[in-house]
């Protein structure tokens, strides 16, 4: 599904601050894989996800999604295949657009946009149903501007937007990190439900060891732009947060 082949990203190449954020990284995801990614600050997790999404060109290596070489595709083209939720709750939705407009925008991801009216009655009903599953009362606020929502509500909405048009790959970058513990747990629960139900192929970055262990079928740990540890299936479930922290310390 996703093939990252020897990808390298160097920030400030040729300057005094040259920094290899991702170092010849290779990673393969099968269809339906749900991988959690852990690693210290600055270990290159976000850079890896952004490289996959095409936020910037990589310095070396190739990226395939669903059998397509997307290495040279700009991010808006890759968006056809990728759903994303960012760490910053403000990043994933447009504040000045209504909730339903944001959803309508997301439902046309990867489609050619035309001069047809941007939202119709039938899809409104569908959005109402989808939002009511969240249990946040957003279904009754569909024509509210997104700017009026709280961070947790926005993150939940972004999650719906990222998965509305079934993505081939879902990228979640610490998407609950900016939320209070209770909201974070709620958003994570929604995340798990959506991923399980649709069997979305997912890469999820988190700093929460417990979540990293309990969620998904594979875990990778990054350090200095490389994968330094991997665990799968039963071995992964048997890991303990303490053990993980020790591995962190070892680098």
């Amino acid at each position: 599904m996703l093939k990252v082949d020897n990808v390298t990203k160097i920030w400030g190449a040729g300057t005094a601050d040259e920094n290899t954020a991702v170092d010849a990284l290779t990673l393969n995801l099968e269809e339906g894989d749900f991988i959690t990614v852990v690693g210290g600050n600055g270990s290159g997790k976000s850079t890896t996800l952004n490289a996959i999404a095409g936020t910037f060109p990589v310095d070396a290596g190739k990226i395939w999604i669903n059998g397509i070489d997307v290495t040279k595709h700009p991010s808006y083209k890759r968006a056809k295949l990728i759903g994303r939720v960012f760490q910053d709750p403000l990043m994933g939705s447009a504040a000045s657009l209504e909730i339903q407009e944001n959803l309508a925008l997301a439902s046309r991801r990867g489609k050619r946009r035309s001069l047809r009216w941007g939202i119709n009655k039938k899809e409104r009903e569908r959005y109402r149903d989808l939002l009511s599953i969240l249990g946040l009362g957003l279904e009754d606020r569909m024509s509210d501007k997104v700017g009026l929502l709280s961070g947790g509500q926005r993150q939940a909405l972004t999650l719906v937007m990222a998965t509305l048009k079934a993505p081939k790959l879902l990228l979640l970058d610490e998407h609950t990190a900016a939320l209070d513990p209770k909201t974070a747990a709620k958003v994570l629960e929604i995340t798990e439900t959506i991923i399980k139900k649709n069997r979305f192929t997912t890469l999820m970055v988190t700093h929460n060891m417990k979540d990293a262990i309990s969620l998904g079928n594979r875990l990778i740990m990054m350090s200095e732009g490389k994968i330094v540890y991997e665990a799968e299936g039963g071995a992964k479930q048997r890991l303990t947060p303490g053990e993980m922290v020790d591995r962190f310390a070892m680098g």
Binding site: A79, S96, L97, K111, L115, G118, K145
Partner: protein, 289 residues
């Protein structure tokens, strides 16, 4: 009334795209020049007015390409296009700095011949054009493409993540906005009876002044309201200008007056915040204060 079409164009770039577009100063003259020359040559005034629109759109396209494809900062792209238009406009006016429409038939002539006063004719035609501009822009922003354009102006990153070609969206926005501004220039020149290379100076500031007045006095929560507010903002601005001229201010001080007004209006929300008594009254439809 005639200026309100321009204010809507300025609104499209400044508010929706979040990028003040200085091309306006050139495209308003371009619209005037194109129409004036056609009319002076004996062309149909309505066709001459329509011709201003694609001319302005082309100017917007150039700025858009400079900005998105050649990665020149937005403000600078606008300035470059504006400067280039200065030369182009003189060429359009066949080498002259102005073109007179004295005793030529303009779009207003027909209405005046029905017995209406000049001001009344201007008002009617201006209202029709403003209503058309509001409708077209409102409908455009309601479409799938328009929605993507608004999202781009609001949150570039998000738009890209939703598969929007944000460069295209920016170019499109500039194209439509400058088409409207050129149309406005065409109407203004026919009203004044001449086109002049100087008439664009400060157009962007006038547009901003009208925009701010409109938002403060008339804007509501909906997008339609915001667009209509632009029309009334332009009217109030004209009215204020007429008043200060009446009160004896020399016409040459007008630009200084407008600049100071805009500077105060733009800094007001920040000053308010500093004083800690923001009453949330200046919230526009984008939720910005």
């Amino acid at each position: 009334m005639l200026w309100s079409v321009m204010t809507i164009g300025v609104y499209m770039s400044y508010r929706v795209m979040n990028m003040p577009d200085l091309t306006a100063e050139g495209s308003i003259v371009l619209g005037a020049a194109v129409s004036a020359v056609i009319i002076a040559q004996g062309g149909n005034p309505f066709l001459a007015t329509l011709a201003a629109i694609p001319a302005g759109m082309t100017a917007g396209l150039v700025t858009g390409v400079l900005h998105t494809k050649l990665k020149i900062p937005g403000l600078l792209s606008g300035i470059l296009c504006m400067i280039a238009l200065y030369s182009i406009n003189i060429r359009v006016m066949l080498g002259a700095a102005n073109v007179s429409l004295l005793r030529r038939r303009t779009v207003f002539t027909g209405l005046i011949e029905t017995g209406l006063s000049r001001n009344m004719s201007t008002l009617i035609l201006g209202a029709v054009c403003a209503a058309l501009a509001v409708t077209v822009v409102y409908c455009f922003y309601g479409t799938e493409i328009g929605c993507a354009v608004r999202a781009t102006g609001n949150n570039d990153e998000m738009a890209k993540a939703q598969g929007v070609n944000t460069d295209m969206a920016k170019v499109m926005s500039l194209v439509i906005s400058n088409g409207l501004i050129a149309l406005s220039g065409s109407l203004i020149c026919q009203y004044l009876g001449f086109s002049d290379i100087q008439m664009g100076i400060g157009a962007i500031v006038i547009g901003l002044a009208s925009l701010i007045i409109g938002e403060v006095l008339f804007a509501g929560r909906t997008f339609k309201r915001a667009l209509i507010a632009m029309v009334f903002g332009s009217l109030v601005y004209r009215f204020v200008i007429a008043m200060v001229l009446e009160a004896g201010m020399p016409a040459t001080d007008l630009k200084l007056f407008t600049a100071i007004t805009v500077a105060i209006a733009l800094s007001l929300p920040n000053l308010k915040k500093k004083l800690g008594k923001s009453k949330g009254k200046l919230v526009d439809w984008q939720g910005r204060k």
